[in-house]
């Protein structure tokens, strides 16, 4: 048991009322803006090109940076000759380990409060840790001059033996200390024995490849030192964590690093702290001028980790009635010695299905490569591929509809923790989704439906993602004499609609129209905010804002004093409406904020609060769920797979903004199509080098790959989360790999257990299908 497990178990016996966070601040508003399909408030800015991204921040005397990357996976720099580059036109500095400032190694995720992708020191000595590591930074007056000068840096290496083969690494696989705080092994009963004895069995190995981050906005750092203070314009999902981690690297106080990141062009887990921000700041320090470092697309592949490869075994042993006697989900993920990111692929199996005996176990295999990292639903994305394919295989063996099988496996309490579910309506998601998608039209037998050259099939899989809420998130509300509220917290807008939803919420909670509320975020100088990760930013921020509003109301009531119609009322007695506060029942007792402030002769009132500690998901099993439906066509001639339509039916608590939510779900599903069919980072196991570092050769889905995607949801509020909402950013990608793989099987009878499902994995198994329906020509 990990410490987290012990705390969770203890909390099970504590009543809700004694636990902060478990019962969210009540929300009295019945007919507000929450739940409305509002367009994004930053939409117009972005369409007009007025949203200023980190690469667009102007600075006087700015130098442009370009990088030289290592070409070996492990060893030492034998010689590095920068003389030609140093005298090239426009070059101001060539920084290598020889002249880089002394810096501490950054703390990686799960080390203290660090948020770096890896804890390797950055450019401190001649050691090479992976193929592609930065070995020199060139600063020049223009980007072109910097780029050109990188080709003049010549480096030779002495090579050490590197582990760049997964097969080799697997031989030394071991349990990680924890899997994001949870135990690496969770087991109950003698599962292998139960498996052997089971009436129906599935026991298969599933493989998923490396995937690289390809946010449309490249990673960037535009930096300036003001004396001992560093200003870092970053594209990041975590301004606070970046500020404190970078401060530690440079040995300065956290408040001496200001990280600004008001707009981020896609994050997906990749926009965290990597070596480039540190290199830019270090180079700016040496050059004593501001620096802009925009990674090239290739540099993103080389310096920023992606989703790691996994090999997973899923074994299911079922009784005649469809219940599980045995559930095994084990496997290995490649990782490095410099990070703790074990790709939690067994997490879905910890919460989805009831089984009498189970063994859920994760190992890691260390390789010499760029540190792997989080990518949209790390773990759950590829974990559901293996688990949900296996469930489909079991349903085929048992000759039972896969949705019906899942209904029979539905647990009454969390199968591994024993906690009660806070809110779980997966069965409803399935029922609604099946009806809307037309699941009943699916042919049970594979290969039964054909449309010209195309073999048609349907597949389904469960989506799931945990509910998290971050501790320590603070919000400040400033209400001015005109009745305008400004909410401030160091959150993030990566295109998902953070600011829009927070404005909706704050407007409702304060009883203000939308245009009387401003949301400030994306700046580490603001009160500590939620990082945009774990699909947790919205709920975490909501809780902080709710607490801050309570505090503000309390101050307002005090200010209102004895001359107000509100005299003597406490926060619990009032509601906010029409720009002021009102007695909850005696609606005649009302005064506007403007009036209260005017009478008190105050310019503004301000309150800052943190949300309560997030004990709700320690006490309850809190997860989002969904049913993902896919219809695919597989070309009988070539084996090409094209998705024809998709539907996601989600159970994510209350949906706060149907418009931004639909985009989030749909975006996740599209990314899932890439995961299932097209994307793969090609890694040369001889050299540890990524061979397709470009959008031309790394295939994200293009418009033609993306069909009509329908999205529906249960909209059942979770009683234990702020506003009843659970995160929605990541669940969309989960289950998609399996839904598509299961549809491919339904279309062709072929089980592809290795992603991506490219035609070469199908073609050898469909040769019996005729090329043409033109009988006369055969």
């Amino acid at each position: 048991m990990t410490i987290v497990d012990i705390v969770k178990t203890a909390l099970r016996y504590v009543p809700d009322v004694l636990l902060p966070g478990v019962t969210p601040v009540p929300f009295k508003k019945k007919h507000g803006r929450i739940g409305e399909p509002l367009s994004r408030i930053d939409g117009a800015l972005k369409v007009r090109g007025q949203a200023r991204f980190a690469a667009e921040v102007p600075m006087d005397g700015l130098l442009y940076a370009a990088l030289v990357h290592s070409t070996i996976p492990r060893g030492r720099i034998a010689t590095i000759d920068t003389s030609a580059a140093e005298v090239a036109p426009g070059v101001a500095l060539v920084m290598t380990y020889r002249n880089a400032p002394k810096m501490k190694a950054p703390q990686a995720f799960l080390e203290g409060s660090g948020v770096a992708g890896s804890n390797l020191p950055v450019m401190q000595d001649d050691t090479i840790h992976w193929n592609g590591e930065a070995v020199a930074v060139v600063l020049a007056e223009t980007q072109e001059q910097a780029d050109q000068a990188t080709s003049l840096v010549s480096v030779t290496y002495s090579t050490d033996v590197a582990v760049t083969s997964f097969d080799l690494a697997k031989q030394r696989a071991r349990h990680p200390d924890t899997v994001l705080g949870e135990a690496a092994v969770v087991k109950s009963g003698d599962v292998e024995k139960a498996l052997v004895a089971a009436r129906h069995r599935v026991d298969e190995v599933y493989q998923t490849p490396r995937y690289s981050h390809n946010a449309i906005e490249l990673h960037v750092a535009t930096v300036r030192w003001d004396g001992d203070t560093l200003v870092l314009h970053d594209a990041t999902q975590m301004v606070n964590g970046t500020a404190s981690t970078v401060a530690d690297v440079f040995g300065i106080k956290a408040e001496h690093v200001r990280v600004v990141s008001p707009f981020v062009g896609g994050g997906f887990g990749g926009k965290t702290l990597w070596s480039h921000q540190i290199l830019a700041a270090a180079a700016a320090k040496v050059a004593q001028r501001p620096v802009k470092l925009v990674l090239s697309r290739e540099a993103v592949y080389r310096l920023v980790g992606g989703r790691t490869l996994t090999e997973q075994r899923v074994a299911l042993g079922a009784n005649e009635d469809g219940t599980l006697a045995a559930l095994i989900h084990t496997g290995i993920a490649a990782t490095t010695a410099h990070n703790s990111c074990p790709e939690q692929f067994t997490f879905p199996a910890r919460h989805l299905y009831a089984a009498s005996n189970f063994r859920l176990e994760q190992k890691i295999a260390e390789m010499d490569m760029v540190a792997n990292t989080f990518m949209r639903a790390p773990g759950e994305s590829v974990g559901t591929f293996a688990l949900e394919c296996a469930i489909d295989e079991l349903s085929e063996r048992m000759i039972i509809d896969p949705i019906e099988l899942r209904r029979r496996l539905e647990p009454t309490k969390d199968p591994t923790s024993g906690h009660a579910f806070s809110s779980r309506h997966l069965s409803k998601a399935y029922i609604d989704g099946a009806a809307k998608f037309g699941w009943s039209k699916r042919c049970v037998q594979p290969c039964a439906q054909r449309d010209g050259e195309w073999l048609i099939g349907m597949g389904v899989a469960t989506a799931t993602y945990p509910y998290y809420r971050m501790p320590g998130v603070r919000a400040r509300i400033r209400l001015d004499a005109k009745g305008h509220a400004t909410i401030a917290t160091a959150g993030h807008e990566m295109g998902m609609g953070t600011a829009t939803v927070q404005v909706q919420h704050a407007a409702d909670r304060l009883g203000l129209p939308l245009d009387q509320v401003t949301f400030k975020y994306g700046d580490s100088a603001l009160p500590a905010g939620a990082m945009a990760g774990g699909s947790a930013q919205t709920a975490s921020t909501l809780a902080a804002v709710a607490a801050a509003v309570e505090a503000l109301m309390s101050k307002m009531l005090k200010l209102a004093g004895n001359d107000s119609p509100l005299a003597g009322l406490k926060v619990a007695d009032v509601v906010a409406r029409d720009g002021g506060l009102s007695h909850a029942r005696d609606t005649g007792r009302f005064e506007t904020y403007v009036s209260i402030l005017a009478r008190a002769k105050r310019d503004l009132v301000e309150a800052e609060e943190a949300g309560p500690p997030p004990l709700e998901f320690m006490k309850y099993s809190m997860h989002s769920y969904g049913a993902q439906f896919a219809e695919v066509g597989v070309n009988a001639v070539t084996g090409e797979v094209r998705v024809r339509r998709m539907l996601g039916s989600f159970d994510c608590g209350r949906i706060l903004n149907p418009k931004t939510a639909t985009s989030q779900f749909r975006g996740g599903i599209i990314m899932g199509i890439g995961l299932a069919l097209t994307e793969e980072t090609l890694f040369d196991e001889r050299t540890g080098r990524i061979m397709n570092p470009s959008l031309a050769e790394y295939h994200v889905p293009v418009h033609l790959d993306v069909p009509e995607i329908d999205v529906i949801w249960t909209d059942i509020p979770d009683p234990h989360s702020p506003l009843g909402a659970r995160g929605i950013g990541e669940i969309g990608i989960t289950g998609i790999g399996a839904a598509i793989a299961n549809a491919v099987h339904n279309a062709t009878g072929v089980r592809v257990r290795s992603l991506p499902i490219t035609l070469d994995k199908i073609l050898p198994h469909i040769l019996e299908h005729s090329l043409s329906t033109a009988e006369g020509l055969r």
């Binding site: 070409t71 072109e144 780029d147 050109q148 080709s151 050259e453 001639v637 070539t638 084996g639 090409e640 094209r642 069919l677 097209t678 090609l682 040369d684 001889r686 050299t687 080098r689 061979m691 397709n692 470009s694 031309a696 050769e697 295939h699 889905p701 293009v702 418009h703 033609l704 790959d705 490219t758 035609l759 070469d760 073609l763 050898p764 040769l767 090329l771 043409s772 033109a774 006369g776 020509l777 055969r778």
Partner: protein
């Protein structure tokens, strides 16, 4: 990217004159491949001669074919009514390639001379005989799912990436070339070379020679032609394999004539002459189409990752011919 000089040629003569004075100059069309390669330091010309102002028209020839200026854009060519009606294989091949934006920039001449997408050619840390003869070929034992199954050598297994050229080869297009020594023509199938021991030499063009035009000979049965590209995503991906074909079937169902070319299988756009030979005079049916494909792929050799291409090519050839035969009935 290194520094280079840029000049814009007003006409062919000036372009050739510029090239003559700068032996390491490169002609610049739309730049959609060359400029990328310069950014990667793979191409390092000291001078670029922009020829996009030269030869921008499509005109009929005396024998009923078309003469296409080398600087005609891919979009212009693909959407030309005469091309779409008389040579649909060409229009479809072009539209199967790249993206709308790239096709708007890319020229016919540049498309013909675009370079391979081999991962190791693009990575200047890798061994590549094409970039540096004698360094070896990292693709042979490396990531080679996209690589050649026909005509490869121990020096190089790269493929030619063009879709358009596959159609041109099927149509027996004639390449018009001009240099300081005068004008000459070459059948397009003879323009590109197999890698052999010298994969750095990709075409029969001599230093300073400029492709000025492509001539499509009259070929009435090319109205019944098609291009099929098989790839890993539905758009904006290079061909795993592709097939360009034109089929002439007589009233009694015999193959009078056939043109077949393959993309994604070799260092050059591959004319499937063996398959054509098998088919001429035979009944147009699936068995014979398959037999022809088998004949063409007899010498195919698979590397670690690309063995699937052999069967894929056979099936796609057969399916394309079946489609054409069916629409001819």
């Amino acid at each position: 990217m290194r520094e280079f000089s840029y000049s814009r040629a007003a006409d062919t003569a000036q372009a050739i004159q510029f090239a003559d004075s700068r032996p390491d100059a490169k002609f610049l069309g739309g730049g959609t491949n060359l400029v990328d390669l310069m950014r990667e330091n793979i191409e390092r010309p000291s001078a670029l001669i922009d020829v996009t102002a030269v030869a921008r028209s499509i005109s009929p020839t005396a024998d009923g074919g078309l003469l296409i200026g080398a600087s005609v854009t891919n979009t212009q060519l693909a959407t030309d009514r005469r091309v779409r009606e008389q040579y649909p294989v060409l229009s479809r091949a072009i539209l199967a390639g790249a993206s709308g934006q790239i096709r708007n920039m890319a020229t016919v001449g540049g498309n013909i001379l675009q370079r391979t997408r081999c991962h190791y050619f693009y990575d200047d840390t890798a061994a590549c005989n094409k970039r540096h003869l004698g360094t070896g070929c990292d693709a042979l034992d490396g990531v080679n799912r996209m690589h050649a199954i026909l005509g490869a050598s121990p020096s190089c297994a790269a493929t030619h990436p063009s879709d358009m050229c596959v159609a041109l080869v099927a149509l027996d297009a004639i390449v018009h070339i001009e240099g300081s020594d005068g004008k000459r023509t070459l059948g397009i199938a003879s323009l590109h070379r197999l890698p052999g021991a010298n994969p750095q030499h990709e075409t029969e063009l001599r230093i300073g020679e400029l492709i000025t035009a492509i001539e499509l000979p009259r070929l009435p049965f090319a109205r019944s032609s098609n291009y099929r590209k098989v790839r890993d995503r539905a758009s904006y991906a290079f061909a795993l394999i592709s097939v360009g074909a034109a089929l002439d079937v007589s009233g009694d169902g015999m193959v009078r004539d056939v043109r077949l070319a393959l993309g994604g299988v070799a260092h050059k756009p591959w004319r499937a002459s063996k398959a054509e030979e098998v088919l001429r005079g035979r009944v147009a049916n699936e068995n014979n189409f398959r037999a022809a494909a088998e004949a063409e792929l007899t010498d195919a050799v698979a590397l670690r990752d690309n063995g699937f291409k052999i069967e894929l090519t056979k099936r796609t050839m057969t399916a394309v011919l079946l489609d054409l035969a069916e629409s001819a009935r």
